[in-house]
C-alpha cells in the first residue's frame, strides 16, 4: 500500500471510530425510543463506511458493494419493524420514554 493510501485509510478509521462513539452515546444517553433508533442508524452508517473502505483498500469494491446492499435491505426492515414497535409502545403507554414503559411483562 502506498503511503498516501495508508494515511487516508488511517484518517478514515479515526473518523469511523468517532462516528461510532457518537452513535453509542446517542443510544446510551437518549430517553426516547425514536432517538435510540437514530443512534442505531448512526452506528450502521459507521459500519457501512468501514465495509466500503475495506473493499476500496483491498480492491474488492464489487464484493463490498454487494455486502452493503444486503446491509441496507436489513437496515430498512429493522427500521420499519422498530418503528412499528415504537408506535405500538406509544399506543399502549402514551409515551416513548423507555423509563416509563412499566407494563412490560418479564
Amino acid at each position: 500500500m502506498n503511503p498516501d493510501t495508508f494515511e487516508l485509510f488511517r484518517y478514515f478509521i479515526i473518523f469511523i471510530i468517532l462516528i461510532f462513539i457518537a452513535g453509542v452515546y446517542c443510544v446510551l444517553i437518549s430517553f426516547n425510543l425514536i432517538r435510540v433508533l437514530i443512534g442505531l442508524e448512526i452506528l450502521i452508517k459507521a459500519v457501512t463506511l468501514l465495509i466500503i473502505l475495506a473493499g476500496y483498500i483491498c480492491d474488492r469494491v464489487a464484493l463490498a458493494q454487494a455486502i452493503v446492499l444486503t446491509l441496507i435491505v436489513i437496515e430498512i426492515v429493522i427500521m420499519v419493524v422498530a418503528g412499528g414497535v415504537v408506535l405500538w409502545a406509544f399506543k399502549y403507554n402514551k409515551t416513548i420514554d423507555p423509563r416509563r414503559l412499566s407494563n412490560l411483562r418479564g
Binding site: G23, I34, K45, A62, L63, L69, V77, L87
Partner: protein, 161 residues
C-alpha cells in the same frame, strides 16, 4: 485527500448535530444529510451502486419512515420543549468534548501496522457478485423482507371484537 477529509469532517459534524438537536424532525433531517454525505464518500471510494442505494433508500425512505413515526407520536408543548432543551443540553453537552478529545488521542496515538493486501479481485461488477457468488444473501434478504412485512402486519392488526 483534502476533499476526503472535508467530507469526513462534514459527516462527523452532521452526526453530532443529529445527536444533539432537540427536535426529532430536525434530527431526522440531520440523519438524511448524514446519509447524503456518506453517499458522496461512497461514490469517491469507487462504489457508485452502493452510493445510489444509500442516497435513495437511507436518505429518502428511512427519513420517510422516521417522519411518519414521529408524526404519529405526541407533539411536545412549548413549555415542555424548554424544559427538555435544558435537560438535553446537560446530557449531551459532553458529546462534542468526548469527540474532540477522542479525535486528538486517536490522531496522536493510533498506529495501524502495515499489512499485506490480497490479490485484486477479477470480478469488478457488484451485480455479478450478488447474483453469481452471493446468491444466498439474496435468499436471506427475501426472508428478512417477508419477516418484516409479517411483523408490520402483526403490529398494526386491529384486534378482533
Amino acid at each position: 485527500m483534502a476533499l476526503d477529509l472535508i467530507l469526513l469532517s462534514a459527516l462527523l459534524l452532521s452526526v453530532t448535530w443529529t445527536v444533539m438537536t432537540v427536535r426529532l424532525v430536525r434530527s431526522v433531517v440531520g440523519l438524511a444529510l448524514t446519509s447524503a454525505i456518506l453517499a458522496v464518500i461512497m461514490y469517491r471510494l469507487n462504489s457508485p451502486l452502493a452510493a445510489v442505494f444509500e442516497l435513495s433508500v437511507c436518505s429518502g425512505l428511512i427519513s420517510v419512515i422516521f417522519i411518519t413515526t414521529v408524526s404519529f407520536t405526541q407533539r411536545i408543548s412549548k413549555e415542555r420543549l424548554i424544559i427538555r432543551r435544558k435537560e438535553r443540553l446537560l446530557r449531551f453537552l459532553y458529546l462534542p468534548f468526548i469527540i474532540i478529545i477522542a479525535g486528538l488521542l486517536l490522531v496522536r496515538y493510533l498506529k495501524i501496522p502495515q499489512f499485506g493486501l490480497p490479490e485484486p479481485s477479477q470480478v469488478a461488477d457488484a451485480r455479478v457478485v450478488l447474483w453469481n457468488m452471493r446468491h444466498l444473501d439474496l435468499l436471506g434478504q427475501a426472508i428478512i423482507i417477508i419477516a418484516g412485512v409479517f411483523g408490520v402486519v402483526v403490529f398494526f392488526k386491529e384486534p378482533n371484537k
